[in-house]
Amino acid sequence: MVGRREAAPVVVPDPAETTEALLGRVGRGDEAAFELVYARVADVVFGLARSVLRDPHQAEEVAQEVLLEVWRSAARFDEARGSARAWIATLTHRRAVDRVRSSQAARNRDNAVASRSNEREYDEVVEKVERRLEAERVRHCLDGLTPRQRDTVTLAYYGGRSYTDVADVLKLPLGTVKTRMRDGLIRLRDCLGVGSDA
C-alpha cells in the first residue's frame, strides 16, 4: 500500500496580480513573484535591447543585467513615480543605449564614413521597426505623427541615438530635432492615452 504524503502548502500567485504588486513582493525577496515578473517582461526587455543593440548576443547580455537589476532594486521601485512597465523599459533602454554609445565612443570614426553608415543604420532601423510594428494601436498612433516626427522619435528610441546624432543623420538643426522629438512624443502620448493617471 502506498502511503499518501501530505503536499506542502503551495502559494499559488494570483495571475491577476499587477506587476506593480508583484514587484512589491520581489522587493521582499520573493523569488516566485520574480519568476512571474520575468515571464511578463523578459520578451520586452530582450526585444528592446535587441532593437537598440541589434546584436542578439549583446542584447541577451543586457537583458540579463536588466532583469537582475529588477530583482536587485525592486524595493526601490515606486509606483507613485510611474508604472512597472515604464520603470523596466526605462532601465532596459538606458542600459542598452549606454552600451551602444560606449562602444561607439571607442570607435574612431571618420566623419564621411560615419555619416554614410549612419544613413544605412537609419534605414535599417526604420525598416526593422516598420516590419515589427504589428500592434495596431501603436502603429496607428505612430501614423498620426508627421513623417519627420516619426523618424526622429523612432531613430532616437529604437535606434538608441542621441538627439545630436539624430540631427546629424537627418541633417537638421539641433533645435528642430528637439522640437520634433517633443511634438512627436506629445502626440504619441495623447494618442496612446498614457497620461499620469493611466
Binding site: 522587493g27 525577496g29 523569488e31 520574480f34 520575468y38 523578459a42 520578451d43 520586452v44 530582450f46 526585444g47 535587441r50 532593437s51 541577451e60 537583458a63 540579463q64 532583469l67 537582475l68 530583482w71 536587485r72 532594486s73 524595493a75 526601490r76 507613485a80 513615480r81 510611474g82 508604472s83 512597465r85 515604464a86 523596466i88 523599459a89 526605462t90 532596459t92 533602454h93 538606458r94 521597426v129 515589427r132 510594428l133 500592434a135 501603436v138 502603429r139 522619435v153 523612432t154 532616437a156 528610441y157 529604437y158 538608441g160 542621441s162 539624430v166 528637439k178 522640437t179 522629438m181 517633443r182 512627436g184 512624443l185 504619441l188 502620448r189 496612446l192 498614457v194 497620461g195 499620469s196
Partner: protein, 230 residues
C-alpha cells in the same frame, strides 16, 4: 531646459545633459509629470518590439538571482512620491492662493509649515495629473518659460529658467479677470530661476501674468507683463 523632457525620456541626451536635466527635474513639477507621461508612451513603443527571449536567459537570470543580494528600500526619511513633491515639501517658495470667486477678490497667503506644504503638494499633484487639466506654456520675455496648469478650479503657475530680477525687485503674479481687471497674486519666489505657486478657487476664464515689480509688490502692475497665460 523644459524642451529637453522628451529627449530625456527617449534617452537621447548625453551624459552631461542628462545629469543637468535630472537636477532641473527636482525643481520642475511640470517637467516631472511630463517625463513620467513620456516614459509611459516610450514603454508602449518598447512593447511593440518584444520578441521571445532565449530560453537559456531564464536559467542564467534565476541563477544570478539566487546569489544576488537585494538593495533595501530607500531610507524612511525620504518621502515617497514624485520627486517634485519631495522638493516642494521643504521649499519655502510655495504659495497658497485663495481666490474668492464670489467677491472677485483674491487673498493670498503664504504658508511655510511642512504639513501645509504637503497639502499644497497634494493640490499640485491633483492639478498636474487631472485628466481635465488645461495647460498653457509660454516663453517669458527676458528668458525662461512659464507654465499654467488649471483643473477643477485650481491652478499651478510654474516658472523655470527665469533670470534674476534687478536688485530690489522681484516677479509679481497677476490674475487677470475676464473684464481685464488685474489683481495681485503676490510675489513668485524663485530658487535658481525656478518657482511654482498653487492657487485655489480660480475661475476658468482668468489668465495669469508676471511682471517685474519693486520688492514687496505693487497694487497694480507698473511694468509690461513678461508673459501672459490663458
Amino acid at each position: 531646459m523644459h524642451d529637453l523632457s522628451a529627449a530625456y525620456a527617449l534617452n537621447a541626451l548625453d551624459e552631461v545633459e542628462r545629469r543637468r536635466f535630472e537636477r532641473h527635474l527636482d525643481d520642475c513639477p511640470a517637467c516631472t509629470v511630463e517625463v513620467r507621461e513620456f516614459a509611459e508612451a516610450a514603454a508602449s513603443l518598447a512593447e511593440r518590439v518584444a520578441e521571445p527571449a532565449p530560453g537559456a536567459l531564464r536559467e542564467r537570470v534565476m541563477a544570478d538571482v539566487a546569489r544576488t543580494r537585494q538593495v533595501p528600500s530607500r531610507p524612511a526619511r525620504s518621502v515617497r512620491g514624485p520627486s517634485w513633491r519631495r522638493a516642494l515639501t521643504g521649499a519655502a517658495a510655495v504659495l497658497l492662493v485663495t481666490a474668492g470667486a464670489a467677491l472677485g477678490t483674491v487673498a493670498w497667503q503664504q504658508h511655510q509649515a511642512a504639513e501645509q506644504a504637503q497639502e499644497l503638494a497634494d493640490g499640485m499633484a491633483r492639478v498636474l495629473t487631472s485628466p481635465e487639466r488645461v495647460e498653457a506654456r509660454h516663453t517669458v520675455a527676458g528668458g525662461g518659460t512659464a507654465t499654467m496648469v488649471m483643473a477643477e478650479g485650481d491652478a499651478v503657475l510654474s516658472a523655470a529658467g527665469i533670470p534674476a530680477a534687478p536688485h530690489g525687485h522681484g516677479y509679481q503674479m497677476w490674475v487677470i479677470a475676464a473684464d481685464g481687471s488685474m489683481q495681485s497674486g503676490g510675489m513668485l519666489k524663485l530658487a535658481d530661476g525656478d518657482g511654482s505657486a498653487f492657487m485655489t478657487g480660480v475661475s476658468p476664464d482668468v489668465s495669469l501674468a508676471l511682471t517685474i515689480e519693486p520688492e514687496g509688490g505693487s497694487d497694480q502692475p507698473t511694468t509690461e507683463p513678461l508673459v501672459q497665460l490663458g
